[in-house]
Symmetry: C2
Subunit: 264 residues, 2 copies
């Protein structure tokens, strides 16, 4: 079993640069901490052609978990659920559980059940609705072959609310049994280019490690570089030990180069 993930961000506002895609970064972080490997983040318009193509592509490649955000709202261009049904070659039907959720939400608010609101209870046949603790549109959980597809709203509070309450526990349950530990140091006085061979050697010290340098200051005049070390392991103690071993190696190498370690 491979624990791969794709994030599909749907919405023209992302493609015209009106909105920065913080949803994708948040989800990527969550996946990484859960031990999943985010292979790709794809932003596409609210378009039938693009949505169907990308969902099918993820299934064809056998990606384990696909999360989409956007296109579940009540407006006429919110059609992710319908296009997802098409991508799966399934009927787009009123889901009984979703209808109960939607009706209950609107009743409790004293709001009328209009056609655009009822649309939020329609899903691909065989999908399970995920309760939305913040807004009205339920999320969608549907499986096809080895791939789990989860469609979430684009409003960050709704996306996060559904994910943390109903998606994360399930992904942890079916995901890899891994512990994930990270640490970073900030290095002053050594340009990124001179850190490169140090990091390269560090990267070879373990298979389950990732080291990345992030330049913060001015590349040449006042080099300031953050070095981030990530380790995952089945065992939390060995992950912590591994991170400490790499950090110690990095700190002594940086000091040999005449650099200063600002924080560890």
């Amino acid at each position: 079993m491979s624990y791969t993930a794709w994030i599909i961000s749907i919405g023209n506002e992302l493609l015209i640069g009106k909105t920065v895609n913080t949803n994708a970064a948040w989800l990527a972080r969550k996946f990484t901490l859960l031990g999943y490997d985010v292979k790709r983040i794809i932003t596409i318009p609210d378009s039938e052609e693009d949505e169907v193509e990308v969902f099918r592509d993820a299934i064809r490649r056998g990606i384990r978990v696909v999360v989409s955000t956007g296109g579940l709202g009540p407006t006429f261009d919110d059609k992710t659920s319908e296009y997802l049904a098409e991508a799966l070659n399934r009927r787009y039907v009123l889901n009984d559980d979703a209808l109960r959720m939607v009706v209950e939400t609107f009743k409790s608010k004293g709001l009328e059940l209009t056609e655009p609101r009822l649309k939020q209870a329609k899903m691909p046949e065989g999908a399970k609705p995920l309760p939305n603790p913040v807004g009205t549109a339920p999320g969608i959980w549907v499986e096809e072959g080895n791939t789990i597809i989860i469609a979430l709203p684009g409003v960050p509070a709704e996306m996060m609310g559904i994910f943390e309450n109903y998606v994360e526990p399930k992904l942890r349950e079916i995901g890899p049994k891994l512990h994930f530990v990270e640490r970073s140091i900030t290095v002053k006085g050594v340009p990124e280019a001179d850190l490169a061979p140090i990091i390269e050697r560090g990267m070879k010290m373990s298979n389950r490690i990732y080291i990345k340098s992030h330049p913060k200051g001015h590349e040449i005049k006042a080099p300031l570089v953050e070095i981030h070390v990530y380790v995952s392991s089945e065992d939390v103690k060995s992950a912590e030990g591994e991170v400490n071993r790499i950090i110690n190696y990095l700190m002594s190498s940086v000091r040999e180069k005449g650099g200063e370690v600002l924080s560890a």
Copy 2:
């Protein structure tokens, strides 16, 4: 001639959620203002397989302009230039102009020309280097068939510096002769679902218009929605007239629904 664009964001830090992709939003905004239609934003790891696949996919689809960010630095995993050469089936060679830029930059800073630094002057055969006003790695401009591929560094200041100085003027020159006008209003007291039919009618008032609602407040208790109207046109006066016509229609429709327009 179609004025389509793809943005390719390269870097594991984006896929583990360490970095929010502000570069892509900035570029998308620039493209939109220049009259280009950003069709897709794709985030992939620093991997040969992914980079070659995605560059080739963009060329195969005849995308007019492809901009990538990331992977031009001096570290061992910065291989965008090399993988781009592979995607183009071209040799990966030392570029004379790029070498001059790199040597000059390092000389002026009194820095040694090391192997990882020299790598920044290697490019696909036939590419043109774009001067980097901030850091050391030149950008890359290369054409294949009808597609222009521009590879930029991932450090925002370097990416923006190269784009604004050397890319934007060229894209404006070869791009569509369009004027782009936008305006937004904030609506209080009408839930997004009730705005949907109003927006749908507004969207049909013109072909070159896009209206998008962005919920800001609490969806049901205190609905606050920003409505953003975009119009592009060959003629700036007609674009402005069109935006005003749509905004006036939206304001009167919202007031008919008992809503309040907070800003226009």
